[in-house]
Amino acid sequence: MGTPLLRIEDVSVHFPVRKGLLQRQVAEVRAVEKVTLALQKGEAFGLVGESGCGKTTLARTVLRLIDPTEGEIWFDGQNITSLSGNALFPYRERVAAIFQDPFSSLNPRQKAGRILSEVLQVHRYKGDIRTRVEELLNICGLPPRFVDLYPHQMSGGQRQRVGIARALALEPELIVCDEAVSALDVSIQAQIINLLEDLRVKLNLTYLFIGHDLSVVRHLCDRVAVMYLGRVMETAGSEELFANPQHPYTRALIDAVPDPDPDPLAEATRAHSSLGGEIPSPLNPPSGCVFHTRCPIAMERCTAEIPPLESVTKAHEAACFATTPTTETTTTTNGR
């Protein structure tokens, strides 16, 4: 396995809420809370959760658009948490992003050709920029005449292809896909997902794929982390996670995925563990396990202690007292 390409260590992102004339900090939004993840080279890593769970904030932190309040981000053995300005430039070449909304992620006043050539120019691309631009369009399945089109002259799927071409321009190693397909029509989604899959194999890319659509993430990713209210609840290989979810939140998420071909018999007996209530405010997260307010199997202990993320099996971790052997039991068994 070797050193992971991207390592997120104990990263927390808190946004201060300021009020009044003196701008005193009255509260803070805990968007991301002590998240630790590692991405191996060549892997597609999914990050799922409801809206507001902090997954986009985490992605923006990895892209260094936001500074983490605590914790460190390591890329290929280098700590990039405190780099800024020019020192960040090499990292910018190796990490790219694909954004959610293809209507807002392209500058409306730039033609596709300019969008692609600008990044090449800024990074002093050695070689013919024109050829490279056409090559990039070609990789993403667009004919060369798109060079002269403005974003508003393209469809959503075509724009997203330009967005992907832009991400590929500098031959990055890691691509952060923030909800890269969720703003597209279902039929276009499938094409873009297939394109992303092809590119990963062809160009040996690593993906950090943020999404809320479980079936998309399952299809595209090797490993998945489930986030809730800023914390990672469960991490596992994607097949393992969907076949054998350990955390009650993950189970609820998977149950909520509509079945395209429901079996009426099984449907009648299926245990609907749909969640009640709303996601609590990250301004004032619940004590103990953040999920206990909506958890069907919450215990006394969950309101007081934070369950650590512990291995259930090899490469499968969950943060729940009900699934992992408690620390006390382990200690007593060992102590005997």
């Binding site: 992003a97 600008e118 089109l149 002259q153 039929s187």
Partner: protein, 295 residues
């Protein structure tokens, strides 16, 4: 696995950059804008050709004092026997120049301040906007009068004074545009690609913020022309021997009951130019407002 059949069909009739620009199609329909362009065009032509077509020297005095409009003096003469038509024609040069120069200066500095404040936020925003608020608290014209009173009269001082007075409008508009645009994903995308702040501001934010700024500029040109006229009227404009519309109006004020043409014609000139510019501004707003749709 996936094959190359992933391509969505690309329709053959994809617009190949529209032949007729949006600007032209708006102006070809808007009658008022056409009126504005023609009238303003005539004034600009008149200003440029003033040395050639003015029948008299604007400061040449004749014995025909306060002569009513006639074949010899088509708009009449003033109390010192100077030809009104020649004076208004020469005044057009000054008025239009003051209008354009003023707006160019205040647009440049106002947009600069507004973009810096909006993009960086924090204490930079705080300092710039408190100054802009301070200026906002006084009527533009009072500021211009005050500045001319301090620095003295003269063409350059008048331009600087009016430009400073209009600065806050541009700064405010630019800042509010930047605040919205900053949240757009293409700005995030630019930052992720490692673009410098200056590149992001100049090539990514500004081009998308220009529409309301251009519209404000046309409005400000007409206010600047009125401002120069008002300052001259109060005797705070350019020097007394330079014919400007405000000065002509001020000179004629005392004789308005005997010589109506001394008030009406310079007033009419101001009105026509200001009206034309506003019509053009309205059409520009229509043409630039919607970013994403073609007509």
């Amino acid at each position: 696995m996936m094959t190359d059949a992933t391509l969505e069909p690309i329709p053959a009739d994809i617009p190949q950059a529209p032949k007729r620009s949006r600007m032209r199609s708006v102006f070809s329909k808007d009658r008022k804008a056409q009126f504005g362009i023609i009238v303003l065009g005539l004034f600009i032509l008149g200003a440029l050709l003033a040395p050639l077509i003015a029948p008299y020297d604007p400061n040449e005095m004749t014995l025909d004092m306060m002569g009513s409009p006639s074949g010899e003096h088509i708009l009449g003469t003033d109390d010192l026997g100077r030809d009104l038509f020649s004076r208004i024609l020469w005044g057009t040069q000054i008025s239009l120049f003051v209008g354009v120069a003023t707006v160019a200066i205040s647009l440049f500095f106002g947009v600069l301040l507004g973009v810096l404040a909006g993009y960086y936020g924090g204490w930079i925003d705080m300092i710039i906007m408190r100054y802009i608020d301070l200026q906002w608290a006084f009527p533009n014209f009072i500021i211009a009068v005050y500045l001319v009173a301090v620095f003295g009269t003269g063409l350059l001082n008048v331009i600087v004074a009016i430009a400073l007075a209009f600065l806050d409008d541009f700064a405010r508009i630019a800042r509010s545009m930047v605040l919205t645009l900053k949240e757009e994903q293409f700005v995030d995308a630019a930052r992720v690609q490692g673009f410098s702040d200056i590149r992001i501001m100049v090539f990514h934010i500004l081009p998308n913020a220009m529409a309301p700024i251009i519209v404000q500029a046309t409005v400000s040109v007409s206010y600047a022309i009125l401002g120069e006229a008002s300052l001259s009227f109060l005797g705070l404009g350019v020097s007394a021997d330079t014919p400007t519309w405000g000065l002509i109006l001020a000179d004629g004020r005392s004789f308005i009951s005997q010589a109506w043409w001394l008030g009406v014609y310079p007033g009419l000139a101001i009105m026509l130019v200001v009206l034309s510019i506003n019509f053009i501004g309205d059409a520009l707003r229509d043409a630039l407002d919607v970013r994403d749709a073609d007509i």
